[in-house]
């Protein structure tokens, strides 16, 4: 469905992505890596914000360049996200509905559904300036899922959120994941270990490992607590072992 082959991206002399190849099907993917690993750059290449130097990104077998089908099937919540404070939640989402060319007759239902999905239906007529940071981020998720896109990409969606909001985010994921590809970029293992079907670990512009949570954990077996230890390694242990190439 969504495929990245031999992707290279550099900024002047700084090579940020080096030969990245990945393949995605429906499900939730966690893109895990420390700060500066190249996650945001990879995501911006995936959503066609950056021109790539080498390689190809395909959606349903076609390059995403000038691919209207791809562009109308993508929902994106960037790392830094804001909304018009002067408008209400409803008006902000309506703004995005128009940009996404959602049929006028369907707009109201679409907005209500999305707000329900992110548990903000009671704030529909509240101005954004009155909402908390967590609520604004949830509203960001609502704008990303407007129009029922088949691919949704979240870049550091839980950054700055309190634990309660993080749990809420995980619940939202379970609600919206059906028949979709969801990619979550984060440097916090906890955000993705329970909800992701597959985890991709990146560092220094390369994909180091891609697999299920179990496969990631297995990378730490015998390396963290010793082979005879009764303590089982966590995803975080696996992640650390992969990153540090232990």
């Amino acid at each position: 469905m969504f495929e990245i082959s031999n992707l290279y991206k550099s900024f002047k002399k700084n090579q940020v992505l080096k030969d990245v190849s990945l393949s995605f099907e429906n499900g939730i993917y966690g893109l895990l890596g420390p700060n500066g690993a190249g996650k945001t750059t990879l995501i911006r290449c995936m959503v066609n914000l950056y021109d790539i130097n080498k390689g190809v990104i395909k959606f349903n077998g076609l390059s995403i360049d000038n691919n209207d089908e791809f562009l109308s099937n993508i929902g994106y919540l960037p790392q830094k996200f804001g909304l018009f404070k002067e408008l209400t939640a409803y008006e902000n989402l309506k703004y995005f509905c128009i940009l996404k060319k959602i049929n006028k007759d369907r707009m109201d239902d679409e907005i209500k559904d999305c707000l329900k999905a992110v548990n903000l239906e009671d704030r529909i007529n509240h101005k954004v300036s009155t909402l908390s940071g967590g609520m604004i981020r949830r509203l960001g998720i609502a704008q990303a899922i407007l129009g029922k896109p088949r691919i949704i990409i979240f870049d550091e969606p839980t950054a700055g959120l309190d634990p309660e909001e993080r749990i809420r985010f995980k619940n939202i994921l379970t609600q919206i994941k059906k028949d979709r590809l969801i990619i979550i970029s984060t440097h916090i293992v906890e955000d993705i270990e329970a909800s992701c079907d597959r985890i991709i670990i990146m560092n220094d512009g390369r994909v180091l490992k891609s697999g299920s949570a179990k496969e990631i954990k297995s990378a730490a077996i015998g390396k963290v607590y010793g082979e005879k230890s009764k303590l089982k390694p966590t995803v975080e242990d696996g992640y650390m072992c992969i990153i540090k190439r232990i």
Partner: protein, 644 residues
């Protein structure tokens, strides 16, 4: 898109600092317009009111630069652009809808000024459709397009620059565009001879001449070059906006951007070739300085031609400038080697041909044209093709002021054009007549002293005058008056009683009693004509008169002057002569002390002393003979001192 624009407008008016700025701006604009409307009730000058309203152009410019910067930068500040850029064409639609919202606000604010202007138009009872259009075009050019250019600058600054850089650019541009910076090129040119006017003028999108008395025939400056300049900036800035907001892979948007660049280049080319314009700044190429600087040197000559032009066939085209193809039928007493003409120096000769259509050699030196005859026969007919303009006596698609006393077509011999001591033009009035046949092509209606049949003008006359713009033809009994409806004369009714007014002077001043005075056409002098032509704009030909007023004095002087050849050396005595005839009591009432001590009365004192000494009738008779005698070349002082 309309729903998005609606949301953007909602956003604009809900953003506190934008709303506050807008309300403050609207209140200030309306307070100014209302104050000026109150003044209109006193001065009743609708053109002046239009000029005052267009002064708001700079305010609109600054407001829309600032407001568009803040409005566009706002979406950058709230981190929206990334999520919008991912949507198919999202960034493009987003910014275009925002600019459209700003354009709607600009339109509303332009409409605001238009309402006041049209209220003034109807209030003053001006029934002149071209002026109604003039009001509209002024507001579109000076208010809407200037605001749009401002919005484009603000948008480019918001998209490309940081806040500090953007504000720095906005402040610098505002200073350079506003009249504050006018002194800079003036100081550099006058002080050091460095001409930076061409550089400064590229930024000069604001309406010019607003601090000057408006030219009622012409209206305010909306010449094509001004449209070219503002469109050049708008299209150039728009293309850079498009490059920034579009997905570079979208071919259609790239094509639009390239088209905008082509439009801007096209407009820049025509901006660089403005043709005839009326721009009253100190640029050495414009109204004030172009002739003043040139004639300050000794470049003028006077010489008889040795031939007369018996007929003129002209094909005149007036668009950005005047183009003329003239065929002259010559009356030569002998074969001449050089045919000498006067033709204003800013008309470029393209070709000169003889009666057989063979090219003739010629030389241009200033206002003079020498055409060489290499044969041993009389030339009989000469065809000259030329084009150009005068920065003072305009000829373009907005207005035409081509008085017959200004050499915009070739006249025989070398003539002096300009009196540098008075900074004014000498009315060139030929003492013979010619047969004129003109075909004039122009987008505006042209009036002339000649008979008219559609675009053709014909008749025998000393000269041909062409006038077009805000001018009305009115008949008063049999007298035809070409008046300026935007500068109505309260004395216009005097035209009903011309005969009565002239009657007391017929025996002394008006020689030819057979002349049919009613056949004479009267043209109202414009501000430029009165200000720049000697004798304050009262110029008389056999068949038409220019006068700035229709008071009894002006009518008498206008008619009496028909018989007095113009001589710059005699202007002082002519002025005193007419003053004494028309305002004898006033002249006599000047207190003796004032007459003795004031420099301005020096000549008058001399004149009155001679009257007291030699008698009024004697002095006036001698003066009249002196004024009429073309061969007497003494100046005014030499004449009056010689009286005994």
């Amino acid at each position: 898109m309309s729903a998005l624009i609606k949301n953007n407008l909602k956003l604009f008016f809900r953003t506190k600092y934008l709303l506050f700025s807008f309300l403050l701006f609207t209140a200030a604009v309306n307070a100014f317009l209302a104050k000026e409307f109150y003044n209109l009730l006193i001065h009743n000058d609708v053109l002046y009111y239009l000029g005052e309203s267009q002064m708001l152009s700079i305010v609109y410019f600054v407001f829309f630069v600032f407001i568009s910067y803040e409005y566009i930068a706002k979406s950058k500040n709230v981190n929206l652009s990334e999520s919008i850029s991912v949507i198919n064409n999202g960034k493009f639609i987003f910014y275009i809808s925002k600019l459209a919202a700003l354009a709607i606000i600009m339109l509303i604010m332009t409409l605001n000024i238009l309402i006041y202007n049209y209220a003034a138009y109807f209030f003053e009872g001006i029934k002149l459709l071209p002026f109604a259009l003039h009001i509209f075009l002024n507001n579109i050019l000076n208010i809407f397009l200037v605001s749009l250019a401002g919005a484009c600058i603000g948008t480019v600054a918001a998209l490309y620059l940081s806040k500090f850089q953007a504000y720095l650019l906005i402040i610098i541009l505002t200073v350079l565009i506003s009249p504050i910076s006018e002194f800079m090129p003036y100081v550099l040119f006058m002080g050091y001879g460095i001409n930076i006017y061409p550089l400064m003028d590229v930024l000069n999108i604001l309406p010019p001449n607003l601090n000057w008395v408006s030219e009622a025939l012409y209206g305010l400056s909306i010449e094509p070059y001004r449209w070219n300049l503002v469109i050049f900036w708008i299209s150039l800035l728009s293309s850079s906006i498009l490059f920034k907001i579009s997905n570079k892979k979208r071919k259609i948007i790239n094509y639009i951007s390239v088209t905008l660049i082509i439009i801007s280049v096209y407009n820049f080319y025509f901006y660089m070739h403005p043709g005839s314009i009326v721009k009253k700044d100190y640029n050495p190429m414009n109204y004030i300085a172009f002739d003043e600087l040139y004639y300050s040197k000794n470049v003028q000559k006077e010489e008889e031609s040795g031939f007369a032009i018996s007929s003129y066939d002209m094909k005149i085209e007036i668009d950005r400038k005047l183009e003329n193809s003239v065929s002259l039928l010559l009356d030569e007493s002998e074969v001449l080697r050089i045919y000498k003409f006067t033709l204003y120096r800013n008309f470029d000769i393209k070709e000169v041909r003889d009666k057989n259509n063979n090219p003739l050699e010629f030389m241009r030196h200033g206002d003079y044209l020498d055409i060489y005859n290499s044969t041993n026969e009389k030339l009989e007919r000469i065809q000259i093709v030329y084009s150009g303009y005068s920065p003072v006596f305009y000829s373009n698609s907005q207005g035409v002021l081509l008085p017959g006393c200004f050499p915009y077509y070739p006249v025989e011999g070398y003539k002096k054009i300009y009196i540098k001591e008075q900074s004014s033009y000498i009315p060139i009035i030929r003492d013979c007549t010619s047969e004129f046949n003109l075909y004039v092509e122009s987008s505006i209606d042209i009036y002339s002293n000649l008979e008219r049949d559609g675009d053709k003008y014909y008749g025998e006359a000393q000269a041909v005058t062409l006038v077009g713009g805000f001018v009305n033809e009115k008949k008063y009994n049999n007298c035809t008056f070409y008046g300026l409806p935007l500068e109505r004369l309260e004395t216009e009714n005097n035209l009903f009683r011309i005969d009565d007014i002239l009657e007391p002077y017929k025996s002394s001043l008006i020689k030819d009693e057979d002349i049919s005075l009613k056949k004479i056409k009267i043209f109202q002098s414009t501000v430029i004509f009165s200000g720049k032509m000697a004798d304050n704009g009262i110029v008389s030909f056999d068949d038409h008169i220019f006068t700035y007023d229709l008071s009894e004095d002006c009518i008498v002087q206008g008619f009496a002057q028909i018989y007095i050849p113009y001589d710059a050396n005699k202007s002082k005595i002519k002025k005193e002569f007419f003053n004494y005839i028309l305002h004898k009591e006033k002249v006599r009432k000047i207190p003796k002390a004032e007459l003795e001590n004031s420099v301005i009365y020096e000549f008058r004192k001399l004149f009155l002393e001679k009257i007291d000494e030699l008698g009024e009738n004697y002095v006036m008779e001698k003066t009249y003979v002196f004024l009429n005698d073309k061969n007497d070349t003494r100046d005014s002082e030499a004449f009056i001192r010689s009286l005994n």
